[in-house]
């Protein structure tokens, strides 16, 4: 049967969720991304771990999904692509970045930081919860912006009008250039 294999919210899916989470948390911790000081090194040009880990992960999963689809193992049409909402995601992204530089962690890594004993991680965790709760409770005035510029599950190949494989190749090339630049900057005296 073609993947994905499980699409219910039953107990089996929730058990898989815990397993996926454990592996995700362990990978983030091993990379050092449970450490806020290490993470913010990205924004001061001293430690490019964030860029290296993030782009390596994206490239690995992207190539895997692409080739499994080519081999007929995976049906990409049944995989949930996060929807595009142009303005909310551009504005939200910029605001999110400011919060990330302040917190030194993101929602996923704050869980790892808190779970490995860091008080600042727990503080970030509580802050995110407070932010989500307050935004949810005061959702009405935000709704016009939230619902603006919907584009559905739009992907780069369709948006740019180029084949899927070309975009995959371009992102691999972009990542390799970024890694090279990051290594050069880190090697500076």
């Amino acid at each position: 049967m073609t993947a994905p294999w499980i699409d219910d919210t039953g107990s089996a899916a929730l058990a898989i969720a815990v397993g996926v989470g454990v592996a995700f948390g362990a990978a983030l911790e091993r990379a050092g991304l449970g450490s806020a000081r290490k993470l913010v090194g990205q924004f001061y040009g001293t430690d490019f771990t964030v860029l290296k880990v993030m782009l390596s992960a994206i490239v690995t999963a992207m190539l895997g999904a692409f080739w499994l689809t080519q081999l007929g193992v995976l049906d990409l049409a049944r995989v949930e692509v996060p929807e595009t909402w142009l303005v909310p995601q551009l504005v939200g992204g910029a605001v999110f970045g400011v919060g990330m530089a302040m917190a030194g962690l993101c929602p996923g890594t704050s869980c790892v930081a808190a779970a490995s004993g860091r008080g600042d991680g727990a503080s970030v965790l509580l802050g995110i919860f407070a932010g989500v709760l307050a935004t949810g409770l005061g959702f009405a005035p935000l709704r016009a912006l939230y619902d603006s510029t919907p584009r559905g599950p739009l992907i780069l190949p369709a948006w740019l009008g180029v084949p899927y494989g070309v975009v995959v190749l371009a992102i691999v090339a972009l990542a390799l250039v970024a890694f090279r630049v990051a290594e050069r900057i880190e090697a500076r005296p």
Partner: protein, 173 residues
């Protein structure tokens, strides 16, 4: 397994990143959905609001979707994020990195760091609601699936963080 006596160095970022990519790919192949984090906070907020004021929560257009079947406490991302905490703790313990600390720059005092951390978290919480995701669900998952919004969010987040970093030197440097 016996934990290391002294903290072990972190893994090579490319190797750790590739492992993370394999985890993400496994999630996509097995369940048809990727990783996430902020959704777990949203479903918890919806569930708690519903427990305190059910009518208010049901009438809230943002919380309503999390209250639909199978309910806020059976949300996939809630279980996944619980796993993230467990996996992070186990990994830190095995590497001798499980210890109480408040990470901050050499000039920052712990109370100031905790307040800025909370504020930064709250700003990210607001932004994740607006953008419908965060670094896990949008950047990693959407990035690997070539989502347009995911790549725009990623670029905007880096721009925002680089713009704010010079103002936060006292906290980190």
């Amino acid at each position: 397994m016996i934990p290391a006596a002294r903290p072990r160095p972190y893994a090579d970022p490319y190797v750790a990143g590739a492992c993370l990519g394999v985890v993400l790919l496994a999630a996509l192949v097995i369940t048809g959905r990727g990783l996430g984090a902020s959704g777990a906070f949203a479903t918890t907020a919806a569930g708690l609001t519903h427990a305190i004021a059910p009518g208010h929560a049901d009438g809230n257009p943002y919380f309503a979707r999390y209250l639909a079947a199978p309910g806020p406490w059976r949300d996939w991302l809630l279980f996944e994020l619980g796993g993230v905490a467990l996996g992070g703790a186990l990994s830190a313990w095995a590497a001798g990195r499980l210890r109480g600390a408040v990470e901050r720059g050499p000039r920052a005092r712990p109370p100031a760091r905790l307040i800025v951390a909370f504020a930064g978290g709250a700003i990210m919480g607001f932004a994740a609601v607006l953008a419908r995701g965060c670094t896990s669900g949008l950047v990693l998952t959407g990035g690997a699936l070539l989502g347009v919004g995911a790549w725009l969010f990623m670029l905007a987040a880096f721009a925002g963080a680089y713009a704010a970093a010079p103002l936060l030197r006292r906290m980190w440097r």
